[in-house]
């Protein structure tokens, strides 16, 4: 086993955060795909016994779990290049706050996203059942057929994106000129926008044009481009789960 190993699943935005951070730092690592439709690997169960979820970063056999904790670890373990968090303590507190906001709010709205890091045994009969029982109410309303509940979920989702766009303002990235922690926390979810739009019938670009422009700027970075998947591929994946 190489010194740095990442246990991951291709479509997981949480895993993608780690891939982006490792790429920004130019760290060589071994990527191991966990099979979401199969059993959890012994290595995963041993490395993350509490949550049994990807992503897990393993350094010389020692595991680090939880994507934002992994990204902070990557920043601190390779401090000599591409800082992911700003130097000033107040700016760092701001960055942590907004990354935490993404975790509290954005992931709630994407049921597939929530379940990406939770790999279930495929003793279940129908794939959609694997995930739907895990989703929170508002997410279910965003993804399942029309009605007032879906409209409310859509409004909630747009409001969350607007708050983020407000924080971004006219800056190049959330931290200013330097790509960093909040960008890494949020950008993987942007490849799910197409799926959200298609299911719930709205345009993210119309609602938050600056945020969409920011996501395109991020995609110009090699670290992001090679870690994320095309929104259409994500959509195909979502369709398999939700039909």
């Amino acid at each position: 086993m190489k010194a740095v190993v990442l246990l991951d699943f291709w479509a997981s935005p949480f895993g993608q955060r780690c891939r982006i951070a490792l790429a920004e730092k130019g760290v060589e690592y071994e990527y191991r795909e966990e099979n979401i439709h199969g059993d959890k690997s012994p290595l995963l169960l041993q490395s993350n016994p509490v949550y049994k979820k990807i992503p897990v970063l393993i350094l010389d056999g020692k595991p680090v779990c939880e994507s934002l904790i992994i990204v902070q670890y990557i920043d601190e373990a390779w401090p000599d290049r591409a800082p992911l968090l700003p130097a000033d303590p107040y700016a760092r507190a701001q960055a942590r706050f907004w990354a935490d906001f993404v975790d509290k709010k954005v992931r709630r709205c994407s049921p597939c996203v929530r379940s990406m890091s939770s790999i279930r045994n495929t003793a279940f009969l129908v794939p959609s059942n694997v995930f739907t029982h895990q989703v929170c109410e508002s997410a279910k309303k965003l993804w399942t057929p029309k009605g007032e509940a879906q409209d409310a979920a859509k409004e909630e989702f747009i409001e969350i994106l607007r708050l983020l766009e407000g924080e971004l303002g006219d800056k190049k990235y959330f931290g200013g000129d330097a790509f960093g922690f909040v960008d890494i926390a949020l950008v993987p979810f942007t490849t799910w926008f197409y799926s959200c739009e298609t299911y719930a019938g709205f345009s993210v670009e119309e609602a938050v044009p600056k945020l969409v422009a920011w996501s395109k700027r991020c995609l110009e970075r090699g670290s992001v481009a090679k870690s994320l998947y095309d929104p259409l591929e994500v959509y195909e994946f979502v369709k398999k789960i939700f039909g």
Binding site: V50, L59, K62, V64, C65, E66, I69, I70, Q72, Y73, E76, A77, P89, Y90, R92, A93, R96, F97, D100, F101, L163
Partner: protein
């Protein structure tokens, strides 16, 4: 003691364990601050201004600028005043401390809260959830990352002690109010002795409210919850 500094102000609530975390950290670091008690039923304009998204305590104001979310505040204090560090120095140890702080807020805290909130039929299951989470912590103290330590931070209190400790006093309170056993010293000997050592620290004793006050508060909230749920039936 020096008069409260204009530089640091904490908006908090006396019964909030998240507020206690920050108060304890400030005390451990010997930092003077002004404290403002928030009435959570009628939040102050200052709280709503500085924490518009969550509208919650604690809010730390440093030179008028807000820092939000207790664990983020602890990191901020550590990075701004690095003497008496709360976080370990090594990046891997820091990741571990952060992970276990996450478990406290993601699993253990909600499990303890669920015992308090559960109707009598759901109580046994809620208590078992708490035990399941305490077993995780006990195992880590016995054979895992924190084996052999007096505190999670080592010989001295660290960030995980602060995060887990400020909140663990609710265990004793809920045991009495709900008449359940949450921390059996025989089932969780290491957790039990860690908590006892933590609560005996001078700085901790100065922060945690008197148990009678906590009991009265918890009984009041429980009455209110039971009253509400019977209305809903």
């Amino acid at each position: 003691m020096a008069p409260p500094s204009a530089d640091l102000k904490l908006l908090g609530s006396w019964a909030s364990s998240y507020t206690h975390r920050v108060q304890l950290a400030l005390k451990l670091k010997g930092l003077a601050f002004e404290y403002a008690e928030e009435d959570l039923a009628e939040k102050s304009p200052s709280l709503l201004l500085h924490n518009p998204i969550y509208k919650k305590v604690p809010v730390l104001l440093h030179r008028g600028r807000p820092v939000l979310e207790s664990v983020i505040i602890l990191h901020y204090l550590d990075e701004t005043w690095p003497d008496v560090p709360l976080m370990p120095g090594d990046p891997y140890d820091r990741a571990l401390a952060r992970f276990w702080c996450h478990i406290v807020d993601d699993k253990l805290g909600p499990a303890v809260g669920a015992v308090f909130a559960s109707p009598s039929e759901g109580q046994a299951a809620a208590v078992e959830q708490v035990h399941e989470n305490l077993r995780l912590v006990e195992r880590e103290l016995r054979d895992g990352a924190f084996a052999g330590r007096r505190f999670f931070g080592g010989d001295k209190i660290g960030v995980l002690d602060v995060v887990l400790g400020c909140g663990s006093y609710w265990l004793a309170v809920f045991e009495e109010v709900m008449e359940v056993k949450l921390v059996d010293p025989e089932a969780f000997p290491l957790f039990h002795s860690w908590l006892r050592d933590f609560e005996e620290q001078e700085e901790v004793k100065a922060i945690i409210p008197a148990i009678d006050r906590l009991l009265e508060y918890a009984r009041g909230v429980r009455q209110m919850m039971l009253g509400l749920s019977s209305q809903q039936q």
